[in-house]
């Protein structure tokens, strides 16, 4: 995780609400948002798009030896989620008692990702909840 207010502030819309974009020239959706469409290059016509957070698990793994940032969270699942609108998104999978499985339906929820000690910022983020 980054350690600056400005970096957090720039990513708030993406992290809170999965705001990415879509190339209106070829309908390819991107998350995180891209300045230029990979397929269309200079013909790109990028428009902001808020993905609704529904998707399915493309792949997942259980993290038992986490980075320091998430050392109190282990064990936890992370996964690659294929959003209903197309983009593949990496994200934490919430432990709600439903065992993650490939193809399992998920929905984005609003959660704390990281808390910077006793005096720093709180980083909120989407996480995916198995349905």
């Amino acid at each position: 995780m980054e350690r600056s207010s400005s970096s957090l502030w720039r990513k708030i819309r993406a992290r809170y609400n999965l705001v990415g974009n879509v190339c209106e020239n070829c309908s390819t959706a991107y998350f995180p948002p891209r300045i230029v469409c990979r397929k269309c290059g200079r013909k790109s016509k990028m428009e902001e798009k808020r993905f609704n957070g529904d998707g399915e698990i493309f792949s997942f793994t259980k993290i038992r030896v986490p980075p320091d940032t998430f050392k109190d969270e282990a064990p936890y699942f992370i996964g690659i989620i294929k959003l209903k609108e197309g983009p593949m998104v990496e994200g934490h999978i919430i432990d709600n008692g439903v065992e993650p499985e490939i193809g399992g339906k998920v929905r984005a929820q609003f959660r704390k990702m990281y808390v910077e000690g006793d005096e720093g910022l709180i980083y909120y983020h989407y996480k995916f909840e198995p349905l």
Binding site: V19, N96, F110, I122, Y124
Partner: protein, 349 residues
């Protein structure tokens, strides 16, 4: 007068039973369950706080109301467990629902009644014509000192209510609201303190009962209504016993309050408490039915509302996630050790 156009609730999935807390402190679980009328309480996940609970409740409220979040002209978040001492919870919520930048936003604190105080403020803004829609939230991950009686009840949850004035969208009109307030030192938490302190038995008669009966009787005086005029009543629920007692004192029956009495199965969600009770009642209410709601916040004060359900309530339920469905969804019991870890009470240094 402004009315309710939508609402949403969020309750974490984790629960701890009274037995698991009582075992740690060598207390008699059965007498506590009977004395407080509580079986279990909700516990926030490690990654949940008053802001995340508020955002989830607010998103459900937006879906239920069927409006765009950018139509909100004001958003107030009431809590006594705001994640930051300085930096609003309500700005996190407004970003979390993509409400844009053109709205009035502030955090409120009045112990357990900050959510209903927000509703009154929103009503004032709507009725004065300053805004079209506004959202009031009561949300908490409330604190109870380990070993204190509060530990059996202090839980986590929240509710968001959207108010407006468009007749076609209102599911319940607020017929009248009044407040009863005094400076009463029944319960407090100083800046930097991890847990609240309270006056023990003093919190009952001069705190809870005086203010709830004061506000409710004032509402009766100003409306000419009486207990039998209401189909349902919701009182603040610090435990499962007090609301039953105050209902009896005021002349309400157990049947009138049972639908909105949520504390026995989720605990006291503090700022969310009376609003979640109202939401659970609206989940089943029929057009034309009347609901009395009286909140209580230590310190102390009560807000009382006379609410009348409209014909729109049934048609708008297609986008509603009901309180009991949220309570039961993925419900997961944890033991006292996991409870302490979830609450961040285990210090490693």
């Amino acid at each position: 007068m402004a009315g309710i156009v939508g609402y949403g609730v969020h309750i974490p999935i984790y629960r701890i039973k009274v037995e698991d807390i009582a075992k740690v402190w060598s207390e008699d679980a059965e007498s506590i369950k009977k004395g407080l009328n509580i079986r279990e309480k909700s516990v926030p996940g490690k990654d949940e706080d008053a802001a995340t609970i508020a955002v989830e409740a607010a998103r459900r409220a937006i879906r239920h109301a069927g409006i765009d979040a950018t139509e909100l002209g004001a958003l107030y978040a009431g809590s006594e467990s705001h994640p930051y001492a300085v930096k609003p919870t309500a700005t996190v919520v407004s970003a979390g629902i993509e409400a844009g930048n053109k709205l009035m936003v502030a955090d409120l604190e009045f112990a357990c009644k900050a959510g209903t105080a927000g509703m009154q403020m929103i009503m004032g803004l709507i009725d004065s014509g300053m805004i079209r829609y506004g959202m009031a939230i009561g949300t908490d991950t409330s604190q109870g000192r380990p070993g204190d009686a509060l530990e059996y009840t202090a839980s986590a949850g929240g509710a968001a209510f959207i108010l407006g004035k468009d007749k076609n969208g209102i599911i319940a009109n607020v017929v009248k609201t009044v407040s009863f307030t005094s400076d009463t030192p029944d319960f407090w938490r100083r800046e930097g303190a991890s847990f609240p302190s309270h006056g023990g038995r003093f919190t009952g008669e001069p705190g809870y009962f005086r203010h709830i009966t004061g506000a409710t009787k004032l509402l009766f005086e100003e409306t000419g209504m009486k207990p039998s005029d209401f189909d349902y009543a919701v009182f603040h629920q610090p435990n499962g016993k007090f609301p039953k007692m105050v209902a009896a004192q005021l002349g309400f029956t157990e049947k009138q309050i049972e639908r909105g009495l949520m504390t026995p199965i989720i605990g006291n969600t503090y700022s969310g408490s009376s609003l979640i009770g109202l939401a659970a009642t609206l989940d089943v209410a029929k057009p034309g039915q009347k609901i009395l709601v009286t909140s209580f916040g230590s310190g102390a004060g009560s807000d009382s509302f006379a609410i009348e359900v409209t014909d729109n309530i049934d048609s708008k339920r297609k986008n509603l996630e009901k309180v009991m469905d949220i309570v039961e969804r993925h419900k997961t019991y944890i033991d006292y050790s996991a409870y302490l870890k979830n609450r961040g009470s285990i210090r490693k240094t």
